[in-house]
């Protein structure tokens, strides 16, 4: 597990961040540009020396200002995927991929060359030079090169920012494969809520060089105060579920005690999927609505009501899962909504991975 506690003055900017990374899966460092995300990443990699603090990975100190420990970057065994890929132009794709592999300790190479090129689909590129690759291919090769260096942690610095939307959709599934295939924990920097929601397991929100909040993605995205300005319409609930079955043109996704019906999904029953339900797509009713076009009507209990300037956020929970709805203040008053009340949530639409552009598209619109 990654533990970070760093202080660093950079001109007028002060970085003072402390957080923990997830043991497994992807930890998203989320925040606007200039929040200090990339500086944190550089400090973890060893490219930026903090003025004070401690960085430890799986209990091994990488940096400790008090104990005067500062392991050089080349011995940290932390992979780094750059926004601009940074492939070596004088080497072929294969030469690039093997660069880190050759330098990894011989006894510790669990991540195999053949497996990586198969998962990333870069087998037919091996002979090529980096200049002959497309942006998306470069990113995949950069990811493969970092993976093959057998890292204990993988850093990804806005790896999709330099790509256009279609390329981004092309790459995302490969990032998701990281979690299931290679088991290397990832620290992922982004300012895109869509990427954070789609990929993240744990989320660390940064603002002005400090950590504003950290926790599971599904909890963080429910907090409007943590969302970037202008993303008000994107607040919603990230729900992890699994495919329960298919029926005609519909699939059922089970999330705790809730069953969501969505257009047929090309995934095996039992497969894990993440849903994102925008708060503005949820309506509440005091009785089970009948003869209604919406396919998803879910029973739950109000767990919290928060007023923002011209809207009210209402949380509805059932069996440990939570949805969020934005309502007008007079609707809340008319219905007499309060905590503990039983309601039916009518969900107009569900964004889901692997469907019509999925989450990203829904959040980018």
């Amino acid at each position: 597990m990654l533990k970070v506690e760093v202080k660093k003055r950079l001109g007028a900017f002060t970085l003072d961040a402390a957080f923990e990374g997830a043991e497994q899966g992807i930890t998203v460092l989320f925040g606007p540009s200039g929040a200090g995300k990339s500086s944190v990443l550089a400090a973890v990699a060893g490219a930026l020396k903090p003025d004070a603090g401690r960085i430890a990975l799986n209990g091994d100190p990488l940096f400790d200002s008090q104990a005067r420990i500062d392991i050089p970057m080349e011995r940290r065994r932390i992979g780094w995927v750059f926004q601009d890929a940074r492939l070596f132009p004088h080497l072929s794709v294969e030469g690039n991929l093997r660069f880190g592999l050759k330098r990894a300790p011989a006894g510790e190479r669990p991540i195999g060359f053949d497996e990586v090129i198969a998962v990333l689909g870069i087998g037919r590129l091996l002979e090529r030079r980096p200049r002959d690759l497309s942006g998306g291919e470069r990113q995949r090769v950069g990811l493969g090169r970092a993976l093959l260096s057998q890292p204990r942690l993988l850093l990804m610095d806005e790896p999709l920012a330099a790509l256009d939307a279609p390329r981004r959709h092309e790459i995302l599934p490969f990032f998701e494969a990281l979690k299931t295939r290679f088991g290397v924990p990832v620290l992922y920097v982004t300012h895109s809520l869509a990427e954070a929601v789609r990929l993240g397991d744990r989320m660390v929100v940064m603002r002005d060089g400090k950590v504003a909040a950290e926790g599971p993605v599904s909890e963080i995205v429910l907090r409007p105060d943590l969302m970037p300005a202008g993303a008000g319409g994107q607040i919603g609930a990230a729900l992890d579920g699994e495919v329960a079955g298919h029926e005609g043109l519909l699939s059922t996704i089970r999330v705790g005690g809730w069953d969501f019906r969505v257009p047929r999904l090309d995934r095996r029953p039992g497969a894990a999927v993440r849903l994102y339900v925008l708060a503005r797509d949820v309506m509440l009713a005091l009785e089970p609505p009948r003869r209604i076009s919406a396919r998803n009507v879910l029973e739950g209990e109000i767990t919290g009501i928060e007023s923002e300037d011209r809207r009210v956020l209402v949380r509805v929970a059932h069996a440990g899962r939570e949805l969020i709805a934005t309502l007008t203040p007079d609707a809340v008053e008319d219905l007499g909504l309060r905590s503990g009340l039983k309601v039916w949530a009518v969900v107009k639409s569900v964004a889901i991975d692997g469907l019509n552009g999925g989450l990203l598209k829904a959040l980018e619109d």
Partner: protein
């Protein structure tokens, strides 16, 4: 146009002197340029100034300074003679030393530009992949600077062929040993009726320059491919 044995000898001496000069000066120039391309190197200003001294001094002064240092009574020359029985002043090796020292700043300039043109992000990438400093120099910086190394070698070779003042001061004008083409042309001009020989040797120098230029084009292209550009 036929050459006399003496003229062949001057040509051979020139090529030998330039070749030996490159042999020691090019690697040193690569190392110096690589160091100078690192912005945070301590003593960078002093190293830069030292590397450029031969460019700003009159060549005769450089030759004289070499005599003072590497002459048989000079501190380095004395030591070399006592311990290794090597004599540099007034020898072919000395001519190579003088020519190499004069060509050194020119090579450093070409190489430094090449090293500075390398994206520093690639060095960071190599570090993150576990490569130490020497490893990165050999496997990232040097291959990426290959076009610059080729250019520096050509410039340096040409400068060595043409060097006059420092060579004649430090190594004298000994036919078959230190008499390179420019020195042979000078000697011919000093001889009554030597105009024809001087012209012939000058044309020969011109021909060598053309060959060197053509070669540099080919080399530069090869190096560009090697560096992946």
């Amino acid at each position: 146009m036929s050459l006399t044995p003496e003229e062949w000898q001057a040509l051979a001496t020139s090529l030998a002197v330039a070749g030996r000069a490159l042999l020691f000066a090019l690697p040193l120039a690569v190392l110096t340029a690589w160091l100078l391309a690192r912005p945070r190197l301590p003593g960078r200003f002093a190293l830069n100034a030292l590397a450029h001294v031969p460019l700003v001094l009159p060549p005769v002064v450089v030759g004289y300074a070499l005599l003072l240092l590497f002459g048989i009574k000079g501190p380095i020359g004395h030591w070399l003679f006592q311990t290794l029985h090597i004599r540099l002043a007034f020898t072919g090796a000395g001519a190579a030393l003088a020519a190499g020292v004069m060509a050194f700043p020119l090579m450093v300039r070409a190489l430094r530009l090449a090293f500075e043109a390398i994206d520093p992000g690639l060095d960071v990438a190599a570090r993150s992949l576990g490569a130490g400093p020497l490893d990165r120099f050999l496997h990232v910086s040097l291959p990426l600077a290959a076009p610059g190394v080729a250019a520096a070698a050509i410039v340096g070779f040409a400068a060595c062929l043409g060097e006059f003042g420092a060579v004649i001061t430090f190594a004298a004008n000994v036919p078959g040993e230190t008499q390179t083409l420019p020195l042979a042309i000078y000697a011919a001009l000093q001889t009554p009726g030597g105009d024809a020989a001087a012209l012939k040797l000058s044309l020969l120098s011109f021909a060598i320059a053309l060959v060197a230029l053509a070669l540099s084009e080919v080399l530069a292209r090869r190096a560009q491919t090697l560096a992946g550009r």
